[in-house]
Symmetry: C2
């Protein structure tokens, strides 16, 4: 590919002049500028960003790490980040960590070698993260998404998961539910799930209801009805469950229906995240909607401000309760029908 020197030669000028014709056209005589542009055209010259990056000590690239793109929450957020970043002249290097600490570490190291101008990370657990500790020591512009701010020392974009967990619980209580359980993926991996559970516990307690232990499923995004069966058939016999994410909720609803349960008549199910598809299912999914597009945009804008040397302290973004057909009033004293 043609470089600036060959353009300059063809135009009969020096590299400096050729460069100016592009970056500071007003410093170049109109005639000369045209000669340069014509030469560039002829050689189909395309400026080499790598050289520009080396020279300017800035890559205009942002490193993004999400746990997985198989979960629409992250994919949809990434979509918003990409659009926003490109509109500001930045490119994204995208990686997935599978919530794996050693991969997280390698990925961040690689991105720092690439001299990205900043990092947007979603880690498994921001409070116990080897990567974050390393980064804290080097303090490049770095922002967490979805991870609660906590003690990590990095700014964070996301909703208030505790309040959101409480709101979800309140919503069910308002519908008349008193026996509510919560379902999550492998607990220890996710700080969000823990906070949402804490919100649930708070809300239950605020209504003098006793929170139940979290029901853990073996996978993050796929329900296993067998794990819930003891709870459903036990003496607590919940009339509603909250899942810590939408995929879990959707697949739980499917399993319940296939097993002959009616949703919401036999059991109300709430999700968490608000993925787009949830609206179009039947029953439509009642969920706490995280403003994914806003999160993606805010993440990029906040990071860009950090790159410019500011030290923002972004407020949590508002979540919205999206009501849906998967939640209804509890059946009338249903527990009586199975308790003696």
């Amino acid at each position: 590919m043609a470089d600036l020197l060959s353009v300059a030669k063809l135009a009969g000028v020096s590299r400096a002049t050729a460069a100016r014709a592009f970056s500071n056209p007003e410093l170049v005589r109109a005639l000369t500028r045209e000669k340069v542009l014509k030469a560039a055209e002829q050689l189909s010259f395309r400026p080499n960003k790598v050289a520009q990056q080396l020279r300017s000590q800035s890559t205009q690239m942002i490193g993004v790490m999400v746990p997985s793109l198989d979960n629409p929450v992250f994919a949809e957020q990434l979509q918003a980040m990409e659009v926003t970043a490109r509109a500001s002249g930045y490119s994204l290097i995208v990686t997935t960590s599978e919530y794996d600490a050693s991969q997280e570490s390698e990925i961040v190291e690689e991105m720092l070698r690439q001299r990205v101008d900043g990092l947007v990370l979603t880690v498994a657990d921001a409070d116990n993260s080897a990567v974050l500790n390393k980064l804290l020591y080097e303090h490049p512009p770095c922002l967490l998404v979805y991870n609660p701010p906590g003690q990590s020392g990095f700014p964070s974009i996301g909703v208030d998961n505790l309040a959101a967990g409480a709101d979800a619980t309140h919503h069910l209580i308002e519908q008349g539910h008193t026996r509510i359980s919560m379902v999550a993926g492998p607990l220890l991996q996710s700080d969000r799930a823990r906070q949402r559970y804490a919100g649930y516990c708070q809300a239950m307690a605020a209504h003098d209801l006793i929170p139940r232990p979290l029901v853990e499923m073996p996978r993050h995004t796929q329900a296993n009805l067998a794990c819930l069966t003891p709870e459903l058939e036990g003496e607590y016999h919940p009339s509603a469950v909250i899942c810590t994410n939408d995929l879990l909720a959707i697949s739980l609803i499917g399993e319940l229906q296939r097993a002959g349960f009616a949703v919401p008549n036999d059991l109300s199910v709430m999700g968490f995240d608000g993925i787009a598809l949830g609206r179009h299912l039947y029953p439509s999914l009642c969920t706490i909607e995280q403003p994914r597009a806003a999160i993606g945009q805010a993440a990029i804008h906040t990071l860009l401000s950090m790159i410019n040397g500011e030290m923002p302290n972004p407020a949590p973004l508002p979540h919205v309760l999206r009501s849906g057909e998967s939640v209804g009033a509890p059946a009338i004293t249903p527990s009586l029908s199975i308790t003696p």
Copy 2:
């Protein structure tokens, strides 16, 4: 950030020796090497990839462009590509085009300036693509995904959409359906949808059934029942419909159920793509599964071979019919119940 020169100084050697300590350790005396490594450690030296890229004329970066990450098909494929690329030491620059030709053009231009080693593209319509024409003229390593090979002149990874469309249709015919319609998003934008429709037409004709005109919906991934109503209530009165992608099918099922139709009893619905979630719904989605992970892997491996100067001609990957509860046998002579 410390550079190699400061490391060299601290270690009391020249830049060349310091560089060798990393890239050709066997050329350096053990003692010297240790001094260099210790100095690098002390300064927390991190090699600058931008400089390496400029020097080596190779970025180890792949430019990826997909229409949208809001559709799990692309997100899941991207997930597979990222894992595969990283395992080979490559990074991905990810962009979304919204099927928009002018964005496609800007994106590709930007990636070429970045001197990516290769491109993986999914364009709206490979046969009428301004970007592809431009690229053809410059011939960087470039690969299409999902787009049928066609006349574009670029290798392509994906399934045989025509055969897949025919297989879907055959499946329904085997179940006893004779009145089958097909539903798509905005037609003109997607070469895949066209091919799938062509497959449907072929299969119908092969069974002496008359294919119906495509029912177009205003959005790619969200069904609008009203668009289908004329077909359902008209004299053709299909007992089954095929959607050109899963999101369309899932949301159509939701709309149907909400309107009081039973799936599959009143209408069987097939999808296309095989996104993960489809399995866990009730009714589970009957669909043509594209091997997304295999496609992602094959895309990266094929592109890497192109980067190495080969000119591969990848075969279409096999699609699989995933049966599901959204398709059943047609109701018995249902047309008689509404025709006089």
